[in-house]
Symmetry: C2
Subunit: 144 residues, 2 copies
Amino acid sequence: MTTCNSSCAPLSQPAGAEALSRVTRWQPGFQWQGVPVLEYQRTEGNWCGISRRMLIGDNAEATGFHVRYFEIAPDGYSAHEEHAHVHTVLVLRGRGQVQLGETVHELNFGDVVYVAPHEWHQFRNTSAAEPFGFLCIVDVKKAP
Amino acid sequence: MTTCNSSCAPLSQPAGAEALSRVTRWQPGFQWQGVPVLEYQRTEGNWCGISRRMLIGDNAEATGFHVRYFEIAPDGYSAHEEHAHVHTVLVLRGRGQVQLGETVHELNFGDVVYVAPHEWHQFRNTSAAEPFGFLCIVDVKKAP
């Protein structure tokens, strides 16, 4: 008899199997059917109120990129960081800000952000009420 | 003295230059500031009423993927086709359908579609009134 506990891994393709075509349903509140809500990142750091959902990348998809949905709670922010790999962002929910270098840009639905290699950046939700959510697409093989 | 004509290429980075960080603004009607509306694809085929916008990929970005926005006019459809490279789609505007193999799925805002290698597929706008728009992310180096 198998048992289940509260920290079950999500159902996914058997190891080694190629992903089949599929539709993953969006649901009100920016949940996607069968897509678990994950921690922002594993490392400690100066960030606050962020969750992560893997829309493409955790199920043996044949892509060289991952598509993630990040959501920042009111008054939350991502780490202020820089690295070699680039970020590509498209805003889906609410509004917020991105700091690119020394410049702060207001962000609304549909806005696209390209973060170049080694650019210092931070995403912030300046709203007191609404989550700020965006797609972030990255190459699987990140630059060092 | 330089001249300009009606088929000017969009302004972009000088050849060989790396892309700088940037914000590309979404505008009502699903236009993005400075992003031209392009043909769906260059080849002839059985498709109708589709436009394409390159959100990431035409400006020397350091990504292994391209992010495109496709929009299908009312009653339009993409080519019914299959190929080795996969598609990753997220719906942004309106509603429509995707056929994956023999199965037709209704699509609405936020739904994610993964089209596996060599899966026959077609996107359709079944609305008589509203455009059906979606992101489509692909690897730059497509599988043969």
